[in-house]
């Protein structure tokens, strides 16, 4: 299995010549669209995660790609499947588990919206814009959001301390400057290494190879 990270919240997982695309939002302009996409996983309706134009581009070369996500995106796009909480489903050769919750609190005065977290092949966990995580899973890899209006660094550190994956890579960082990324990466590396987590920033040219 191969995981390739693109700008902001987007990544692609490929296995057995099949790919799934996760959160291809408006800020992921460097996404190299694969031609073997079977499914597109969306965590929530915000444009930095869900961008109908980008989905249309993906479907142009992958007409049968199915979009999965929370109920809030169904009215905004064709051929989308609504996910239930704790649902197991197949996307091609991938086995996906969905956890349906809410987007984390931006401010008590902002409206709450649904958010789906995903466990892919029991190996990769990605929670979208939510600080909640299932405590009974043991993912090898976690996509960890490091900068958002609904979180602090300590929230990301806590998530990794409990989930204790072997690898973690930063996501949701489009708002950060180079200085910001360096500060975030330094804190994340230093504060999680004692928990056996190897935290590493990866660009599209350095995909993560996952065995087993």
């Amino acid at each position: 299995m191969k995981l390739t990270k693109y700008e902001h919240a987007c990544f692609v997982v490929e296995k057995d010549n099949q790919s799934i695309v996760v959160d291809p939002g408006s800020d992921s302009n460097n996404l190299k669209i694969p031609t073997n996409v079977t499914g597109i996983l969306i965590t929530h309706e915000h444009s930095d995660h869900f961008f109908p134009e980008r989905i249309a581009q993906i479907r142009l070369v992958n007409p049968s790609a199915v979009v999965y996500g929370p109920s809030s995106i169904v009215s905004l796009i064709e051929n989308a499947k609504i996910l239930e909480n704790n649902q197991n489903f197949q996307v091609g050769n991938f086995e996906i588990h969905s956890f349906v919750g809410t987007h984390d609190l931006i401010h008590p005065e902002s409206p709450m919206i649904p958010n789906v977290s995903y466990l892919i092949d029991t190996v990769i966990y990605y929670g979208g814009d939510s600080l909640w995580y299932p405590e009974d899973i043991h993912p090898k890899i976690v996509a960890i959001p490091i900068s958002a209006n609904w979180m602090r660094f300590s929230d990301a550190i806590e998530m990794l301390r409990v989930l204790r994956p072997q690898y973690a890579f930063p996501t949701h960082d489009r708002l950060l400057s180079d200085i910001g990324k360096t500060v975030a990466d330094t804190h994340m590396t230093n504060f999680t290494k004692d928990y056996g987590v190897s935290y590493e920033r990866r660009g599209p040219s350095e995909p993560i190879e996952i065995n087993g």
Binding site: L105, N149, R152, S154, L175, L176, G180, H187
Partner: protein, 226 residues
């Protein structure tokens, strides 16, 4: 930028201070020819050492607020300038003219009245982050700069230097701090971690909240009069 608001206020009060903003947490205040420099740290890459500096306030020891080279350059050009800072900073620059300050202390320097607040740096992580000293500073009971903390000034202030992004806060916290202080005017600071794209979003979120509470929130790109 529309500075009408700030100018009107100034005229009313009859006191004139010119605020010049540099990158990240750094700014200067000029009044009757005397200049106060606040947090000239390493990330204020556009900082130009002013003349007529009477004092420098360094809120805490982190490099984005405390840059010994910049302090040396300020003192070289302004030998009379005194650096006000917590002990953790002054002890690292023994060769420079410093004065240790603590919360609730009041200093008079070159026509500025400086009142210090707070005491500790906000926590980045409860288990990993040591406790750092940090002072906020209220200048002339008009402007408040909290350093790396959300310590309240405990008095009304007209102008707030608002740290909008930091490892130790989320937007709901900087928004609640803004609402609690409730200045007439707030400008963003501590934002070198943001990309250009990030500036846009963070400014939009804080502006939305500010407007709701009758606060003017504006990014300062050069100087304004307050």
């Amino acid at each position: 930028m529309d500075n009408t608001f700030a100018r009107i206020n100034l005229a009313k009060k009859g006191v004139l201070m010119r605020l010049t903003k540099f990158e990240h947490s750094c700014f200067t205040l000029e009044k009757e020819g005397n200049v106060l420099v606040v947090d000239p740290g390493a990330w204020a890459t556009d900082f130009v050492v002013p003349e007529n500096v009477v004092s420098v306030v360094v809120t805490h020891e982190h490099a984005d607020h405390f840059d010994p080279e910049k302090l040396q350059a300020i003192v070289d050009k302004n030998p009379e300038a005194i650096i006000y800072a917590p002990e953790a900073v002054t002890s690292q620059v023994n060769n420079l003219p410093t004065q240790i300050v603590s919360p609730d202390e009041v200093m008079e320097v070159g026509g500025f009245t400086l009142t210090f607040t707070g005491g500790v740096h906000a926590t980045i992580h409860k288990d990993f982050h040591p406790e750092y000293q940090n002072v906020g500073v209220i200048v002339d009971d008009v402007l408040y700069h909290p350093g790396d903390s959300l310590a309240l000034p405990n008095r009304p202030v007209k102008v707030l230097s608002l740290p909008i992004i930091a490892p130790w806060e989320k937007v709901s916290e900087s928004v609640d701090f803004l609402i609690a202080v409730k200045p007439e005017f707030a400008f963003p600071t501590h934002d070198a971690m943001l990309s250009e794209f990030g500036f846009g979003l963070y400014d939009r979120w804080h502006k939305l909240a500010a407007e709701k509470y009758g606060i003017v929130y504006e990014r300062i790109t050069d100087s304004i009069d307050i």
